[in-house]
Every structure is written in structure tokens, then in C-alpha cells.
């Protein structure tokens, strides 16, 4: 447990239209760890993730990356932060006019300043990693949802992020396409990628997460190891939320709380 802290989120407050969307949220992520955000829709998970890379700047509080607090007023610091923080969106947000290869390559050229050949090589590497080397010439309109999300993972990874933020990466997918994306996420966790993921895939993430953060009305109301929170007699909010979800899905996956990642 001596891994260094990569990302520290302290006392984040965010108000939108007079409503407190995030209310004093704090947590930190160590190198190679995966934190999972759970909670009902509208709890503030997406907003919290967007605050971390200042897509939606927090009203107050501090975001520190690698021990250095980010000055949200400095445009240069913001751009530097965003380069180092990858983001995966629920609805992929691929650039529709670019092929899979160019989706991955564009920021390598424009932001990282790589020359075209180096960018192409790197982009192909990342596409191969998510199993899409043979789809590099296809456009988003020609890809399935699962493939699109895997391209978006490749696009984020190509930037060598220190942290990857994932906002419900499988929620927009047809059930039969969820598995291929979860496999990619599992591989990343195994390779030691530092991640913060909002998801409803509780039983899947229980086997990978170091900690669950249960959010409700803009606050983290419960946190702990998955095995502890999901224990049948824990009486936790997480447990009852998970039970409700699995009842709706009819798969009864909630009782299983696999051993946490070594």
C-alpha cells in the first residue's frame, strides 16, 4: 500500500443554477489503483469526473495531480492537466469525420506535436491493444458501439495519461457488446493503469476496484473495499443499491463479492 498518490481531489464543491451538485467531495487515487463511483443517476458522478479535468470547473476545492495542485485559472496548466488525464465518455464522443486511426492520431499530432509517422505508429499500437488493428480505416458510422468505445479508449491511452476517467463506459451499449469493453478495462487494470470509473457494472468492478465510493446527492456517503460493502449482512447502501440493480436486471449477481485484486 505504499504506492504514491497520483490524483487527489479535495473538498470539491460545484453549484449549477443555484443547486449544489457536488458538496465537499474528497478522495485520492494511488498509482495503479481503480476507484469506482457508484450511485443513483443524478448523484453527481459525471459532474465529479468532469471537475477533475476542469471540463466543468469546480467552484472551490483542489485537484492535485502527482502532488501538484492545478491552478484552474491558468490556461496553460489546464491544457497540460487534460493531456495527462484521459477521459472515456458514456456515448463515446468519437470525431465523426475521422477514421478510427485518425481519431487516435489527431491529438498526438495537434497536442503532443508528434510527426505523422510517429503518431501513426503509436495510434496503430493502441488500436491493436484494444483489438481493432484491422478496423483502423473505418469511420465511426461504420463501427459498432463496442468498437467505438474501444477506439475512444485507444484515443485516450495514446496520450499516455497518468489517470483515466471513465464515465459509465458501457451504459450506452447493447448488452451483447458490453463484454468486449469490460475486457479492455480489465486488461488496463491488470496492467496497472490508474483509473476512476463511474459504472453500474457493480459485480464486474468489484473484482477490480480497490475502493467503492457510493455517491448520493453530490456527496460520497459510503466508501470501502468492495468485499466489505457487498457482504450480504453489511447493511450498506452499496449493497442495497446493488441488490436493487440486479433485481431489475434479473441476474442476481450481487451476493458474490470476489476477492479484491492482489
Amino acid at each position: 500500500m505504499d504506492d504514491p498518490v497520483i490524483l487527489r481531489v479535495e473538498n470539491i464543491v460545484k453549484t449549477i443554477g443555484g443547486q449544489r451538485i457536488l458538496d465537499d467531495v474528497s478522495f485520492s487515487v494511488k498509482k495503479g489503483h481503480l476507484k469506482v463511483l457508484i450511485g443513483p443517476s443524478g448523484a453527481g458522478k459525471s459532474t465529479l469526473l468532469a471537475c477533475i479535468n476542469f471540463l466543468s470547473p469546480p467552484d472551490s476545492g483542489t485537484i492535485s495531480l502527482d502532488g501538484k495542485a492545478v491552478d484552474g485559472k491558468s490556461r496553460k496548466e489546464l491544457l497540460a492537466l487534460r493531456q495527462q488525464v484521459g477521459m472515456i465518455f458514456q456515448d463515446f464522443n468519437l470525431f465523426d469525420h475521422l477514421s478510427a486511426l485518425d481519431n487516435v492520431r489527431v491529438a498526438l499530432v495537434k497536442v503532443k506535436g508528434l510527426d505523422k509517422r510517429a503518431a501513426t505508429n503509436r495510434a496503430m499500437e493502441e488500436l491493436a491493444r484494444v483489438g481493432l488493428a484491422d478496423k483502423s480505416t473505418l469511420y465511426p458510422a461504420q463501427l459498432s458501439g463496442g468498437q467505438k468505445q474501444r477506439v475512444s479508449v485507444a484515443r485516450a491511452l495514446a496520450m499516455d495519461p497518468k489517470v483515466l476517467l471513465l464515465d459509465e463506459p458501457t451504459s450506452a451499449l447493447d448488452p451483447e457488446l458490453i463484454g468486449e469493453v469490460l475486457t479492455v478495462i480489465r486488461d488496463l487494470a491488470d496492467l496497472g493503469m490508474t483509473m476512476v470509473m463511474a459504472t453500474h457494472q457493480i459485480s464486474f468492478s468489484a473484482s477490480l476496484a480497490d475502493e467503492f465510493l457510493f455517491m448520493e446527492r453530490g456527496r460520497i456517503v459510503e466508501r470501502g473495499a468492495p468485499s466489505q460493502l457487498l457482504a450480504r449482512d453489511s447493511g450498506s447502501r452499496t449493497q442495497s443499491f446493488c441488490a436493487k440493480l440486479s433485481e431489475l436486471a434479473g441476474d442476481g449477481h450481487c451476493e458474490i463479492a470476489p476477492a479484491p485484486r492482489a
Binding site: 479535468n53 471540463l55 491544457l79 497540460a80 487534460r82 493531456q83 488525464v85 484521459g86 477521459m87 465518455f89 456515448d91 464522443n93 468519437l94 470525431f95 465523426d96 469525420h97 489527431v106 491529438a107 495537434k110 497536442v111 473505418l138 469511420y139 465511426p140 458510422a141 461504420q142 475512444s152 484515443r155 485516450a156 496520450m159
Partner: protein, 230 residues
């Protein structure tokens, strides 16, 4: 029939060629200004501050809501009487026509540009920013290439319309294709032959323009951006 060809060859074509040049000098700047106005106005109507948006919406309603002939009459016949202090602007027939066509065409063009810009999902801008792109980079490498593709068929159609409604310049005394044709028809009393050939000239212009636009669209075509031209 031989008579028709002889007349066409000796009288109509030389006369119309002079008018053709005038028409081209009218259509090219008017459509360029029209596109420039359309792009600026369209972008401001999407991204501009509220008062600007309201003002430009009013401009578009005004120019789309009044007949082009009336607009041309205004620029040519009425504008000289609009005095601001001691100053009144008098436009030559040619400039009155260019201004009239450009402003009217720009109003329509801005609709297509606006639609193109609005069709790009906000999420793509967020993704670009999340990768560390500057706002300028996001707009130039993500928004514009897509908005341009979405707007191109509409903007192209508008240019084709402009070629045809350029014939209205003749009513404010411009000696364009139609103007020259009308004089010749009057002096020779051969309306049928003259106006058939005038029509063919416009048909040729429109055909060439359509062909160029089709090439541009083909060059820019991408899956998911197939153009649906009516």
C-alpha cells in the same frame, strides 16, 4: 431551321457572350460575398452573444421574407434617397445587384451554416478539450470540417439559385445575359429564338456549377456524411 442557326450564330451568340461576361462578373463576387456573409452570420447566430443573435435573426427574416425584386429596387432606386446628414449612397447598377444578391444569398447561406454547426454534437467538443486541444484547435480540427460537410449541399444549392436569380439584375438596367437577350429580342422581333438560347446559356452555367459542386462533395465524402441533395 437553318435560318435559326444562322441567326443564332451571327446575332444571338455574339450579343449574349458580352452579357455572359457581365453575368459572371455578377455571380462570382455575389456568391463569394454571400458565402462569406453566410459563414460569419451563421457562426455568430450559433456562438454569438444574445443581442447579436437577435439582430442577425432579424436580418435573416427580413431578407428571406421580402421579394428579391423589391430588395433590388431598394438598393438601386431607393437607396440614393436615404440621406444620412448630407450623405447619400448611390450604387451603380452592377454594385446594387451584387449587394442585393450577396445580402439575400447570405441570409439563406447562414441557415445552412447554422444547421451544420448545430448538427455537431457537443460531446465531440468535450472530447477534444479532454485531450488537451485548445478551443481554437477543437474548432478547426473537429467542428469546422464536419459543419462544412453538412452545410455543403445546401450552400451549393444556394449558389445554383443565385446563378438563376442573377437574371433579375436586368430589371435594374444591368446588361447581363437576360438584359442583352431582351434588347436583342426587342430589336429583332425574334423572341422565341433569343430566349431559347438565353435559357440554354443559364442551363450551361448551372450544369458547370453543379458538376464542380459534385466533385467537391465527392472529394469530401465520408461514411456518415453522405449528402442528400434534392
Amino acid at each position: 431551321m437553318d435560318d435559326f442557326f444562322a441567326f443564332a450564330w451571327e446575332r444571338i451568340i455574339p450579343t449574349l457572350d458580352a452579357g455572359l461576361w457581365t453575368s459572371i462578373l455578377l455571380i462570382v463576387p455575389a456568391s463569394l460575398f454571400g458565402v462569406a456573409i453566410g459563414v460569419s452570420v451563421g457562426a455568430l447566430r450559433v456562438y454569438g452573444p444574445r443581442p447579436v443573435v437577435k439582430t442577425l435573426d432579424a436580418y435573416v427574416s427580413l431578407f428571406r421574407g421580402t421579394p428579391l425584386v423589391v430588395q433590388l429596387y431598394f438598393w438601386y432606386f431607393a437607396l440614393p434617397y436615404v440621406r444620412i446628414g448630407d450623405f447619400a449612397l448611390v450604387l451603380s447598377p452592377m454594385w446594387a445587384a451584387i449587394v442585393g444578391f450577396a445580402l439575400c444569398s447570405g441570409a439563406y447561406q447562414s441557415e445552412y451554416i447554422r444547421g451544420g454547426l448545430l448538427s455537431i454534437k457537443r460531446g465531440q467538443l468535450r472530447a477534444a478539450q479532454a485531450l488537451g486541444m485548445t478551443p481554437f484547435q477543437s474548432v478547426t480540427s473537429v467542428v469546422l470540417p464536419q459543419a462544412f460537410r453538412r452545410a455543403l449541399p445546401g450552400c451549393g444549392n444556394e449558389i445554383i439559385y443565385l446563378i438563376k436569380y442573377s437574371s433579375l439584375a436586368s430589371i435594374i438596367t444591368v446588361s447581363d445575359l437576360t438584359g442583352m437577350g431582351r434588347s436583342l429580342a426587342k430589336s429583332s422581333f425574334r423572341n422565341t429564338e433569343v430566349f431559347i438560347v438565353v435559357g440554354l446559356y443559364y442551363l450551361a452555367l448551372v450544369t458547370i456549377a453543379s458538376f464542380l459542386l459534385k466533385i467537391a462533395e465527392k472529394k469530401l465524402e465520408i461514411p456518415g456524411f453522405e449528402s442528400k441533395r434534392e
